[in-house]
């Protein structure tokens, strides 16, 4: 799947940061985040609420401007592009929203919703062509029967159907990159897998690269089994590795805590799991961040004098993984 290393990654973020609020009360929702997503890959962003994963998604989709750092599409900084280049980027990167009840305009019919971009960008030559294209897209996303659904308004469709419409709409402009922001979180459990399978097919058949944002580790593991996971905490990436290794051998204490804490849908597995106790229950306040490593007040492996003083940088472990932890760096004698 991964192309030759000389290939420019499709999406790259470098030292990306985004702040909100006034000068006196600044919240760094995204704080110095860097990663690459090569063509055809899947990168999952996981983390708890407030970790900055949604903001990162919006930065990648160009819906927000970074306060500092760069967001690169095919090697070019999108905020330094010329208008025509930016237009190309705009349609190449799409985002699927979380809430199926808010992502479709309630006043429009499904036909209006899907054909708006088709007509706007002259992707179809006539109404006949538009209709055909709708049917094609519906087949790709698994919506039937087309004639019936195209006349309806969003409120007449189920949550799962609406998400599929969202995906079909995104596909009208032939994107090469899709940010899925908790795209299946608000859909019934029994339907999630089929939505994820559909998205997986997009990757294989239409060469779409994914940034999959979720708070659900199990979904991340399932969807990105042959991809990578980046774990975020309070605005920064603290660990990045390919999925099987991250799940089976987590290095960062926060990742370890998450994996041990997550309740599993398997009684024997979940009741026999070793839980890692944390030093504190308090969730860090974004207005009053802990000094040094943001996780240190809760970290069971906290080293006084180090972790509360200096922020660990995200470094390569040498085998394709990255971790931001002093302890791990020490143990592995890692150099930047």
């Amino acid at each position: 799947m991964i192309q030759a290393t000389s290939q420019v990654p499709l999406i790259e973020v470098r030292n990306l940061s985004r702040a909100f609020g006034s000068r006196r009360h600044r919240i760094w929702a995204v704080d110095d985040v860097s990663f690459r997503v090569p063509h055809g890959d899947i990168l999952c962003l996981v983390g708890e609420s407030g970790c900055g994963k949604t903001t990162t998604g919006k930065l990648v989709a160009g819906l927000l401007r970074p306060t500092s750092g760069e967001m690169l599409f095919e090697g070019r900084n999108i905020w330094e592009m010329e208008r025509s280049e930016f237009k190309r980027y705009r349609t190449a990167v799409q985002l699927i929203h979380q809430d199926p009840y808010a992502s479709l305009n309630p006043m429009h019919t499904i036909y209006d919703i899907i054909t708006a971009p088709l007509f706007r960008h002259n992707l179809v030559s006539s109404r006949a062509h538009a209709w055909e294209r709708c049917v094609e897209l519906f087949n790709i996303v698994g919506l039937t029967p087309p004639e019936d659904l195209l006349r309806k308004h969003p409120h007449e469709l189920s949550g799962g159907q609406r998400q599929r419409v969202s995906v079909a709409r995104a596909l009208t402009v032939n994107p090469s990159f899709i940010v899925a922001d908790e795209a299946v979180s608000m859909v019934d459990v029994s339907i999630r897998v089929s939505l994820l399978t559909m998205l997986g097919r997009l990757r294989k058949e239409f060469d779409v690269t994914f940034l999959f944002i979720t708070h659900d580790l199990a979904l991340a593991k399932y969807f990105a089994w042959d991809g990578r996971i980046a774990v975020m905490y309070v605005g920064s990436v603290i660990e990045l590795a390919d999925t099987p290794r991250l799940i089976n051998d987590p290095l960062h204490p926060y990742t370890q805590a998450l994996l041990s804490a997550v309740p599993e849908a398997d009684p024997e597995l979940t009741r026999s799991k070793q839980r890692i106790p944390l030093r504190s229950q308090d969730i860090p306040s974004l207005l009053n961040l802990p000094t040094g490593c943001r996780f240190h007040p809760r970290c069971p492996q906290f080293i006084e004098g180090l972790c509360d003083v200096q922020r660990p940088a995200l470094v390569d472990t040498g085998d394709g993984r990255q971790v931001a932890c002093h302890l791990v760096a020490r143990e592995r004698g890692m150099i930047k």
């Binding site: 237009k87 429009h108 706007r120 209709w131």
Partner: protein
């Protein structure tokens, strides 16, 4: 479930969207029928709607059927209502009923014009303000604030006295100039909030353009509010007009309901019991119209909100 379509499906589906002239006409008729059906969903609203329609029909077509009685009949001044003259006679012995029938056209036309102008200004400026933001927003908001803090009617009086009100258009403009700020603020607030919706974000991502976003994504979601504002704009214009006419600031007006009230008052119709019809008729006519408009707005909500229509 199936991956491909049979040739029959292709033919059937392509046939559905194709429209001949006959289809278009049928479509329009269906649309009108649908509109009526939606208005009928709310009983009060429907009654209001029918009354409003009747008012327009009577005011614009009535004059051809019942021409104004211009004949002065000195012997029949302030005559009581009778079968032949259901609303009695005025101060010159002319039939009141025919005056009522003929008196609506100017008032309603002005009201419509005023509502149109002020809604157009309020919505356009409000949407622009919200979407463009920055200096324009600050400027327009300040402008609107100034207008809103001045009492409307006195200012209308001053303007009407200052400017020569020579035509309905000028009158409408005067009334509209002073009533757009309210709608402007409301539209601006709504657009600001609607701008954050996910489907608007999706439209941005799909590069659908500012025009599309404002007029196809955002404004349709405000239609019921705009329609209701339009209705109240009309009622406000009617009151304002009537007030200006009463103060004699509208020199060109022919016989309309406002003039009738003014004359009835100055010619003493209020002092006689028999002539009560002459003063009450225009008052009641105006009041009933206002009431019908208010009732009608209840149905407008149904029309403009697909979620309320035949829920799935």
């Amino acid at each position: 479930m199936s991956g491909t379509m049979s040739s029959n499906d292709v033919i059937r589906s392509t046939a559905i969207y194709q429209r001949t002239t006959k289809d278009i006409l049928l479509g329009i008729l269906k649309g009108i029928g649908e509109f009526f059906r939606l208005m009928a969903r709310n009983r009060t609203g429907f009654i209001g709607f029918i009354i409003v329609v009747l008012y327009f029909v009577v005011s614009f077509l009535g004059p051809y059927v019942i021409p104004v009685d211009k004949e002065t009949k000195v012997t029949r001044i302030f005559e009581k209502p009778s079968w032949q003259h259901p609303l009695g006679m005025d101060h010159e012995g002319r039939d009141t009923f025919s005056q009522v029938v003929n008196g609506g056209r100017d008032i309603l036309t002005t009201a419509l014009l005023t509502a149109l102008i002020s809604t157009a200004i309020g919505v356009t400026l409000g949407a622009l303000s919200a979407v463009l933001g920055g200096g324009i927003d600050t400027l327009l908001s300040a402008f609107a604030d100034i207008f809103m803090s001045i009492p409307q009617f006195p200012l209308q009086v001053v303007l009407a006295g200052f400017i020569q009100v020579k035509s309905m258009l000028i009158l409408s403009l005067i009334l509209a100039i002073l009533s757009w700020p309210g709608l402007y603020r409301a539209v601006r607030a709504q657009v600001l909030s609607l701008r954050e919706r996910d489907y608007v974000e999706a439209a941005i991502l799909l590069d659908l353009g500012t025009w599309h976003i404002v007029f196809k994504e955002i404004l349709p979601n405000m239609m019921s509010y705009i329609a209701i504002s339009f209705a109240f704009s009309m009622t406000g214009a009617i009151y304002a007009q009537t007030g200006l006419v009463l103060l004699g600031l509208v020199p060109f007006s022919s016989h309309n309901w406002g003039v009738m009230i003014s004359i009835a008052w100055t010619r003493g119709a209020i002092f006689y019991r028999d002539s009560a019809a002459y003063i009450l008729a225009p008052v009641f006519t105006i009041a009933l119209f206002q009431l019908a408009m208010v009732w009608m707005t209840r149905s407008l909500e149904e029309v403009f909100n697909p979620r309320l229509r035949g829920r799935a």
